[in-house]
């Protein structure tokens, strides 16, 4: 019964989004307000229903229903715990983004069809999660990429945006091409394009390896593992804030979903997959955070940090896979439940941070961290919400980011200490070291961001839209912020969501006794967090009592160490803050330094020094490579010269070839 409700709900959702989004074609002014409102209401309803039902019936056995029958395929769809896990954050983030969008677009007008493509993106992502057939999956997947492409390129008319959209398109289609190859390969093995058939098919070890490599590359392009990450740091800053929230919070997770869905057909796993994933995840995590450290734009920094978090998810997946291949149930369970928890938590806090970046850009007209400062005084609520997101991103206790990392660490620690297999020990140790270093660098980078942009004194005059963000923007940020804190404090409430998909992934039911340590860790952590919060309250109260006896605290300027004319421009900027880390890792990050020095003895103009951290995968690797490729391919231009008769001739040649091949074969 409950399942039917969910299915009906998502069906009506698809229908409604479809019709609602058609409005902009007819009436412009009205639809700009009605569309986002209806999208947010429906997505909130959908989120509420899914959450309630997942609590009422935690063990959804999985539902499969046949869709339209087409000659070559049918649009079968279904919902199971793995889809639910991704659906809930999808609906919550859609709600926030749709609520946030109108006021942001008022100052940064986007294309006319913005809300049409926005709802198309959401519907396509829902369809990806519900698809139980390869063709249905790939159609939804492609729709998702195209809708996202349109949302990116219609954001504004800058050339950087077009370039970002172009690279996004190329990467999306590299992924789709690999995905087609993957699906045709599995289809040729199993003789079917139904996921339910794939699920029960026993693959040979060689076939499994091919499927794993293909799905890692195909879905890696969307997830943003290094070196498939190229589009992320370009597309996220280019898109409007609420679209970046959806892209970074949810769409890159679709890549993760794809890998997990494919892996679920392949259990039992091979150990080397786990090692590969830990290596790729480790490179993505470290590389992502190191590049993030050097950025000056809030949104670019957040985009690189998404690569870092995808890396952490990859490390967790790798740890779980290698542990499951070595039959270490505790490590496996902790690694996978940590991975699923981190997926939910990253969706929430990252989309919230992107919305926060949107409020900053909306209010000040700039996203350059080094030009901001003191925002906590002018926009207090938004800054405090941003602080929650920053703390969650750094994995600090009381926030959801901590719990995900705690589980992954627990898997790593248990693997490093308490296993009989040296392989798991080494992989676990590597995972722990990488996550610890990443966590430390994340604190460096994001204290720099928050400290430079929100604390201290204003560095320049702002030319923004309004001084304070509106109520809808604040509400849109509050929902994921509250969710982040709530699941950070009471993590055990949503543990069933994270434990359920583990069974699907491993292709077996997880015994209840195995899940006890996970729950016990969540409970005890919450208990300690309450003690810590209590201690903080007691200290604050005592401090208050001590202070009450005295005069009210005096105010004075910051002590200037004897310098008589301190200036806001003397504050440490985000770039100077992270300079030690950047220069220590300079061989990995390759920062470019520019110094405009004056040559005269008495300088007439000030010297200027700039450090730029560019994604050298694009500037030093991809750009020369594609340039060489272009000169090579230019020699074949005569093949595609725009004459239709010649194209028809190609068809004739192809058909003749097929006929000949058929004849020879017979």
């Amino acid at each position: 019964m409950n399942l039917l409700t969910i299915v009906l709900l998502y069906g009506s959702l698809l229908l409604f989004f479809g019709t609602a989004s058609l409005i902009p074609i007819f009436r412009k002014g009205l639809s700009a307000r009605i569309c986002p409102l209806s999208i947010s209401i429906i997505s909130l309803l959908a989120a509420g229903t899914t959450i309630t039902l997942s609590f009422l019936q935690p063990c959804i056995p999985g539902l499969h229903f046949e869709g339209w029958q087409l000659p070559f395929t049918n649009f079968s769809a279904g919902i199971d715990q793995l889809s639910t896990l991704f659906l809930i954050p999808l609906m919550l983030v859609t709600f926030s983004s749709a609520l946030f969008g109108p006021s942001y677009l008022a100052a940064h007008p986007a294309g006319r069809m913005h809300w049409f493509f926005f709802s198309l993106l959401v519907v396509a992502m829902t369809a990806v999660l519900l698809a139980k057939n390869a063709f249905f999956f790939i159609i939804s997947w492609e729709t998702m990429s195209l809708a996202a492409y349109v949302l990116i390129v219609t954001a504004n008319r800058e050339s950087a945006t077009i370039k970002a959209g172009w690279i996004f398109m190329v990467m999306a289609h590299v992924g789709t091409a690999l995905l087609l190859a993957l699906f045709f390969y599995i289809g040729s093995i199993t003789g079917s394009y139904e996921f339910s058939v794939w699920n029960h098919h026993t693959f040979l070890p060689f076939e499994k390896n091919v499927i794993f490599i293909l799905s890692l590359c195909a879905f890696g392009c969307k997830a943003g593992f290094i070196p498939f990450h190229l589009w992320l740091p370009l597309a996220h800053p280019a898109a409007p804030a609420h679209v970046s929230a959806l892209l970074s919070g949810i769409m890159i997770k679709m890549g993760v979903y794809g890998i997990i869905r494919m892996l679920s057909f392949l259990a039992p796993f091979h150990a080397w997959w786990g090692i590969t994933l830990v290596i790729i995840g480790g490179i993505s995590a470290l590389g992502g955070i190191l590049f993030a450290l050097g950025q000056q734009s809030i949104k670019r920094m957040l985009a690189f940090s998404s690569i870092e978090n995808i890396g952490i998810i990859g490390i967790a997946a790798g740890l779980g896979i290698s542990a499951s291949a070595s039959h270490e149930p505790t490590v496996t369970l902790f690694a996978f439940s940590g991975m699923f928890f981190h997926i939910i938590s990253h969706s929430l806090f990252k989309s919230m941070l992107f919305l926060g970046a949107g409020t900053v850009i909306h209010a000040t007209g700039t996203g350059d961290i080094n030009r901001l400062g003191g925002l906590i005084k002018s926009m207090r609520t938004a800054s405090n919400l941003f602080l929650i997101g920053t703390a969650a991103l750094c994995g600090l206790p009381l926030m959801s980011g901590f719990i995900g990392e705690l589980f992954i660490y627990t898997a790593g620690i248990t693997g490093a200490i308490d296993t009989a297999s040296p392989l798991v020990s080494l992989v676990s140790m590597a995972a722990v070291i990488i996550i610890a270093l990443t966590g430390g660098l994340a604190i460096t980078g994001f204290t720099a961001l928050f400290g430079a942009a929100f604390l201290g004194e204003k560095r320049s005059e702002y030319h923004g839209h309004t001084e304070k963000p509106g109520r809808s923007m604040i509400t849109a940020m509050t929902v994921p912020a509250v969710a982040t804190m709530a699941i950070g404090i009471g993590s055990f409430f949503i543990l069933p969501w994270c434990l359920g998909p583990v069974g699907i992934l491993l292709h077996r039911t997880v015994p209840v006794t195995f899940t006890i340590p996970v729950f016990s860790l969540a409970f005890k952590t919450s208990a300690v967090l309450f003690i810590a919060a209590g201690l903080a309250l007691i200290t604050a109260l005592m401090l208050r009592i001590i202070n009450r006896k005295k005069n009210p605290p005096a105010k004075s300027p910051t002590w200037d160490c004897g310098y008589i004319a301190p200036d806001a421009s003397m504050q440490y900027t985000s770039t100077s803050f992270s300079a030690p880390a950047i220069s220590f890792f300079r061989r990995l990050v390759m920062p470019q330094q520019h110094l405009d020095r004056s040559t005269t003895l008495f300088p007439e103009k000030p010297w200027r020094f700039r450090t730029i951290v560019d994604d050298w995968f694009i500037t030093r690797l991809l750009a020369p490579l594609s340039h060489k490729l272009q000169t090579l391919i230019a020699r074949l231009h005569w093949l595609q010269n725009g004459k239709s008769e010649q194209y028809v001739f190609y068809i004739v040649i192809t058909v003749t070839g097929i006929i000949l091949w058929k004849l020879v074969l017979k």
Partner: protein
Amino acid sequence: MTTFLTEYLVSPLIALLAAPLVPGIINKTKAFFAGRNGPPLLQPYFDLIRLFRKESVYSTSTSWIFRAAPVIIFAATLCTTLFIPVFTFGKPLTFQSDLILLVYLLALARFFMILSALDTASAFEGMGASREAFFSAIAEPVTLICFLNVMRTNHSTSIGAALSSTSVVSDSISVILSALPFFIILLAENARIPFDDPTTHLELTMIHEVMILDNSGPGLALMEYSAAVKLWFFSLIIAKILLPDFAEASLLQFILLPALVGIIAVCIGIVESVMARVRLLKVPYLLFGAGVVALLGFFVSITGMLTW
């Protein structure tokens, strides 16, 4: 309730009472090496009392973060002492991978320390915060490897349980490979020489001291108190590692454990007296060295698992 108080709150209470003694011993040792008489052993207590009685001055640049930071830092630091048993009757709060919570509570403290420094809009405090952030980022994996070494030799996934079991570290190689990097981490995390000079007078070269330049009165007292508790906490862990088997669970521990903490404090004092602060650029390499030593300890125990 009474069992809760006696079992869990023993460690934090002892930490609260004894922590300021550690900097006192360090200062006395340094004075001895300098040929001075030095401040009294209890001077840190007097300082704290004096600061708590003063009134606060807040900078006009600061926000609520600057005022809340000392409280959060103090609570988070004190909370970490819950996990480490002082004597065998003081039961620690042990559970699987409690050390992550411990390390991240310290990270929470650091996070607010950095933000409160940046909140003052002072270039010097920003400089200190930048160094603190980067050096701690390098120190974090090293700290974890050190903890994991101790836990691995005890086959326990909980640091509290590992440190309260009767034989913490049995053979001498493991003792050296666990305790030595831990001592380096202690110096780094607590801003001691050779990483940072707590007594320097030039803001440009400071790390920890420059970050609390603008704190005053009770706020500064809380900052100093949490620094002392953190120093106590790290010294206690090393003392637990070094505590010989026979002393555990006997009356001897009440003499030996405080004596060991005292010896560690003296060692810190000696290091500070005979060494100079290294160049800031060299600090990451020093931490890296500690990490390599700790990793060696881990590999030594891994080799025991392999069949040759």
